[in-house]
């Protein structure tokens, strides 16, 4: 473990695992990963990660933390062959528009040749990199929807 973890998270129970972001802003339910984002009660704007000021209307009171939907559409992707240390090449990274309108960047669990544009994907948990000491960094990733 290279980084301190908040007490009670799975990370404290699984040596060799670290989450990114460290605050683990998601909840697993029925095999799907639900990211915790912001919703502005004044204008309805959503964003990820959560924050206390609304980027859209500028209000800084009462921002709600909400679960984003775990499904979306792959807008575009690239297969990376030259990457910083610890990211095992090749890997695919893509922009996904979640069905509730928030766009996310993240790794996609497939090779580029297997993917198409506008493919339906879902959020899953997975290893995104390995640190020098062997620690696996776990974050949200995308997987093609079987259905």
């Amino acid at each position: 473990m290279t980084a301190p973890q908040p007490e009670g998270t799975e990370a404290t129970k699984s040596p060799g695992i670290e989450y990114f972001p460290k605050s683990k802003p998601w909840r697993m339910a029925d095999g799907a990963l639900h990211l915790l984002g912001m919703r502005c009660p004044h204008c309805g704007a959503k964003a990820f990660p959560a924050r206390s000021v609304c980027h859209a209307c500028g209000r800084d009171d009462g921002m709600e933390t909400v679960e984003l939907v775990p499904t979306g559409t792959l807008y575009s992707f690239a297969e990376i062959h030259a990457a910083p240390k610890g990211f095992p090449t090749p890997y695919v990274i893509g922009f996904v528009d979640l069905d509730d309108g928030v766009r996310l960047l993240g790794q996609v669990e497939h090779r580029a040749a297997e993917l198409g544009m506008d493919e339906k994907v879902q959020l899953v948990e997975g290893v995104i990199r390995t640190r020098g000491d062997g620690t696996k960094v776990v974050s949200y990733k995308f997987r093609r929807r079987s259905s």
Binding site: F77, E79, H81, P84, Y91, I93, F95, D97, R103
Partner: protein, 380 residues
């Protein structure tokens, strides 16, 4: 604001990998060349702006110290790829405000000091932690652009081929060789659909310009070249959908620069644009108004943007071939523009050029098109 600043002198180092030189030496070479080109002594410089992004702190002071040129106001600015152009804009503003009459602008970076690889991200931003690298952002733009316009990887490769047509004529360019479509496509994969020759190289370099009032510029006897427009903008934040085949930031910045200069894209004789990756050149043809949205592949194939075409773009070789020491690029573009406007660009001269546009954009920040974009319009 009155755009009443004139470029009286320019100079730059060759762009290439120079790990054996200090950044101070690299910067000094560009400064001395610009002073000599302007025909001014050190003491004529009242203020200095230094744009750099990745090399160090107090860069202007460090470069100028051994030249005995400290002791005046030195302001270091950073705006990623637009650092050099941002420095020029502040210089023009200092002149417009009457704060100074003659100002030195330096752009510099030495990427070989970073130890190779892609440029590191800022750790609090999500994207680099998730595995994002700068080529991938443009690669995703390219994949979507190809899907929406029908452009192919051959079109992408042709951008690199054109860049090398200019670069091989440019003694300041990092690469001096021609390349073929086949060579570009066959180079090793970096971020699919981009192969290595579809990405600008890393390297080192500096470029400098002396900017002054009309009266002082006229007294120096060089052809008068006015900075008729100098616009800077930052990207709009969108946490949701964004059309990655368009650059809202470059479109918005170009509109302001054209307004300042009182011209339109049709008046531009020559443009140096931010082709950090091949798709960038195509996207920015459209964002700068040189061709309609989606029209860039055909515009490229028409030959319009070659040196002898109707709208020459990147005769220097651009970032793809001249190279891209980040903070230096904006001022290198100004050097190239000035040489063409004076008729001093040698074999790569755009004949009869009277209006030149320079364009930089960069700074990867999640949710923005880019951190910043700077566009200058120079008029002879």
């Amino acid at each position: 604001m009155m755009n009443n600043a004139y470029v009286a002198g320019v100079g730059m180092t060759r762009f290439c990998k120079m790990p054996e030189r200090s950044f101070e030496e690299i910067g000094q070479e560009a400064v001395l060349k610009a002073l000599k080109d302007a025909g001014v002594e050190r003491d004529a410089i009242e203020e200095v702006f230094c744009g750099s992004a990745l090399t160090g702190r107090s860069m202007g002071q460090r470069v100028l110290r051994d030249l005995g040129m400290t002791g005046r106001p030195i302001t270091n600015v950073e705006n990623a790829c637009s650092s050099g152009s941002t420095a020029l804009r502040e210089a023009c503003t200092a002149i417009a405000a009457g704060r100074a009459e003659t100002v030195l602008v330096l752009g510099i970076d030495q990427l070989t000091r970073l130890g190779g690889g892609t440029i590191p991200g800022v750790e609090t931003d999500l994207d680099p932690n998730l595995g994002m690298v700068m080529p991938a952002l443009y690669a995703m733009r390219a994949r979507r652009y190809m899907q929406e316009t029908g452009a192919t990887r051959v079109h992408l490769a042709k951008v690199a081929v054109k860049a090398h047509e200019g670069g091989q004529l440019n003694p300041y360019a990092q690469f001096r060789n021609p390349v073929t479509v086949e060579e570009v496509l066959a180079s090793r994969m970096v971020a699919d659909p981009f192969s290595l020759l579809m990405c600008c190289p890393t390297g080192d370099g500096a470029a400098a310009a002396v900017v002054t009032t009309k009266k002082k510029a006229a007294a120096l006897g060089k052809k008068l070249i006015r900075v008729a427009g100098t616009a800077l903008q930052s990207g709009l934040y969108k946490p949701g959908f964004r059309d990655l085949t368009r650059s809202e930031l470059t479109e918005r910045t170009a509109k302001l620069a054209y307004e300042q200069a009182g011209i339109g894209p049709e008046d531009v004789d020559l443009a140096e644009i931010h082709d950090a990756f091949v798709i960038a050149e195509l996207m920015y043809y459209e964002a700068l108004g040189f061709c309609p949205p989606g029209g860039a592949p055909a515009f490229l194939e028409s030959g319009a943007t070659r040196i002898n075409g109707s709208k020459p773009v990147n005769p220097s070789g651009g970032l793809l071939c001249r190279g891209h020491p980040v903070g230096a690029t904006g001022i290198a573009q100004v050097c190239e523009a000035v040489w063409h406007l004076r008729g001093e660009a040698g074999e790569r001269q755009v004949e009869g050029a009277k209006v030149a546009l320079t364009h930089c954009t960069g700074g990867g920040v999640s949710g923005l098109d880019h951190g910043s974009c700077a566009i200058n319009i120079l008029v002879a």
